[in-house]
Symmetry: C2
Subunit: 399 residues, 2 copies
């Protein structure tokens, strides 16, 4: 069977789905001489290595069969309870009548939400730009993905209402309200309330993705949209990827039970259940270690690293380049002046041995116009941040 | 938002997808006084606990960041190499030009294959009965699922060709050729060759699911369909669930690269990558421990347990009840005489504190007629096998 014959067999959405542009860029970063601001990995010093060593060893000694045997699709019961107790109670995420299931990273929660709600052609609204992994998930179900301009304080309400009036079968609005990926921006409380009111008015669901919420190192917490939701319209995704270990692929979805039931049935035929050993480790970490102290430590790490990067930008970047000053999370979003070829700038950066992600990777269609690129400060070592930003800064000066 | 309003929002396939009937039965088995022949879990004594303890502790001491950080979607490179070297080379599974990617259990390989190939309404052919988790996967993409009668030596070729002549857009045929779940039957070499020839003639793919292949305790190995495949029509799924630890959710897909590329893109927006810590454990297990010795041990365990169950059946069952004598795997398939109410028999069994799975759970539609039920011998302890089979036997005598 030749390739042309095989390609004819692929399902329709496969024609629109490409490997993420970030992955292509990350290939260059395998070269240790390239300074990478392109990843989104937690800082190595953010991993609670000793705690995980202690917990993993103890679990394998006390309950090895439990850590290796099949488990239930909903997730490890003590983990579900500990998430409710230690994480969700702080922010009133769990509304009366809601429940929580464990998924294999928030990515799976996002994918399954789309699978449960969307027929091919149904509309998914999202911030433009937004997280490419989620956008690809929506595309993989043949969704009609519609981007709505992102402003300094969150999605444009005007443009959102415009889209709601013109687009058909809007199933849900996808939002990353805190320290958004890629923009680093945080949605204001007013806008959170407004999108919830629009959800009621136009009858759609909201998928709230909050991977970075705990990593606030400046400013004041803004309530989760889920915490304001009185009618069960919000589906909330959380994750251990940024607070414990992304390699474990443990996340969770909070929603009303009737929706969770569908997610569970879909998860059952997707991966049966999430790795149980890692679920047990996450659970013990919440139960036996001081979560607040740990989060405080992470905030210090990212406050320091973002500060270092922003300092370099202020010192070395051409003032014509604008940039966000995030209050948390992992990313800074830089925008080049009009007339500059952003893709060429990013290519030249790699040639100069600094990798950044071109903003087009986060647009609904990669061809959508953008002058921006994304910088990550969590992954590189401090001296690499200083060195790389100086190099990028010199490039911006010759624009 | 009330429930009726929410239910209107669900995607079309959700209307046809129900939680597996097995799960409902397994609820009863939480009661320790119920003897469960309903599960499909490996025997507790089959887990290489000491090896996993040694490996996990070493990995977390030598490379903790590697075990906790984000990894690549294709899978941990040493694991991919070790699977090729230690497992696939034995059976000539990896054909020239093929490659392998890691997935979160074979279940994910099955789901992603369906996602990559099927538009809603496309036809998936499968053995009837077949594994309910896979059937639900196919249903979850709106596939037109068509069952083909399973005979003693595998799928009926006559019925298969009939279906190929009448069904439209047949994308693939799903097969579990070794010690099939639920029937325990093994497909003959002749039939393996014949379905491959039909795949050429009628231009469809074959999804070969082989979770139990290594667990042969009687008879001679039959070559995998993949090993006979010269034209890249076969997609092969393997797993560590039955040979190491199902709780780790580590499996793999072998196929031609153009198809794997699509699976990788879909996996990326499904769970990014499979739990890396467990991938590293699986890899080290293949590399540092004697795989042949381990498999030999598992075969002894299941030879013993299946023998015990078959002995009980011969001694206690009404001779009017027929049953398969598997040469490997985890299941025995019993068929009640015509006229007996199979569902009532299974309900009565639970009342007598023995759980079995009614055959209808494995039919394409649960309403499809069947007189069979599935017995599992891997999970219960030896004395429970003896006791439970005696109880079931007494029930069959009063039929």
């Amino acid at each position: 069977m030749d390739l042309a014959c095989l390609e004819q067999k692929f399902s329709e959405p496969m024609n629109h789905l490409k490997a993420s542009a970030i992955r292509e860029i990350l290939k260059f970063t395998a070269d240790p001489s390239v300074i990478s601001f392109a990843a989104g990995n937690p800082a190595p010093e953010a991993f609670p290595v000793e705690a995980v060593q202690e917990i993993a060893t103890r679990i394998l000694s006390e309950n090895p069969i439990g850590a290796m045997q099949y488990s239930v699709t909903e997730g490890y019961v003590p983990l579900r309870e500990n998430i409710k107790k230690v994480i969700l109670s702080r922010d009133s995420i769990l509304k009366e009548g809601d429940d929580l299931v464990i998924v294999s990273g928030a990515q799976q929660g996002i994918e399954l939400t789309c699978k449960v709600l969307c027929n091919p052609g149904d509309t998914v609204l999202c911030e433009a730009p937004s997280f490419v992994g989620s956008l690809n998930s929506f595309k993989s179900y043949g969704g009609n993905l519609v981007g709505v301009e992102l402003e300094e304080d969150g999605i444009s309400l005007e443009k959102l209402e415009q889209a709601l009036k013109t687009e058909k079968n809007v199933k849900f609005l996808y939002l990353i309200p805190n320290f958004q990926n890629p923009s680093g921006r945080t949605m204001s409380l007013e806008k959170r309330k407004a999108v919830l009111a629009l959800a009621e008015q136009y009858d759609f669901m909201i998928l709230e993705d909050n991977p970075y919420g705990a990593l606030r190192f400046a400013g004041e917490d803004v309530p989760a949209i889920k915490s304001l939701d009185e009618s069960g319209r919000v589906i909330y995704c959380g994750t251990f990827s940024k607070i414990l270990a992304p390699g474990f692929r443990v996340g969770y979805v909070v929603a009303q039970p009737a929706l969770l039931q569908k997610i569970i049935v879909c998860k059952q035929c997707s991966d049966v259940h999430t790795n149980i050993f890692s679920q047990m480790i996450c659970s013990e970490f919440l139960e036996k270690y001081d979560y607040s102290v740990h989060i405080q430590k992470l905030r210090e790490i990212y406050r320091h690293k973002s500060g270092l990067m922003l300092e370099g930008i202020r010192e070395h970047f051409n003032p014509a380049v604008s940039y966000t000053e995030p209050q948390g999370g992992l990313f800074i979003w830089c925008t080049l002046p009009k007339g500059v070829d952003m893709m060429e700038f990013c290519s030249n950066a790699v040639k100069n041995r600094v990798a950044v992600v071109p903003g087009s990777a986060f647009m609904i269609r990669e061809s959508d116009p953008t002058q921006s690129f994304r910088l990550n400060y969590s992954t590189p070592a401090d001296e690499k941040i200083v060195e790389g930003i100086k190099l990028l800064g010199d490039m911006t000066k010759s624009l």
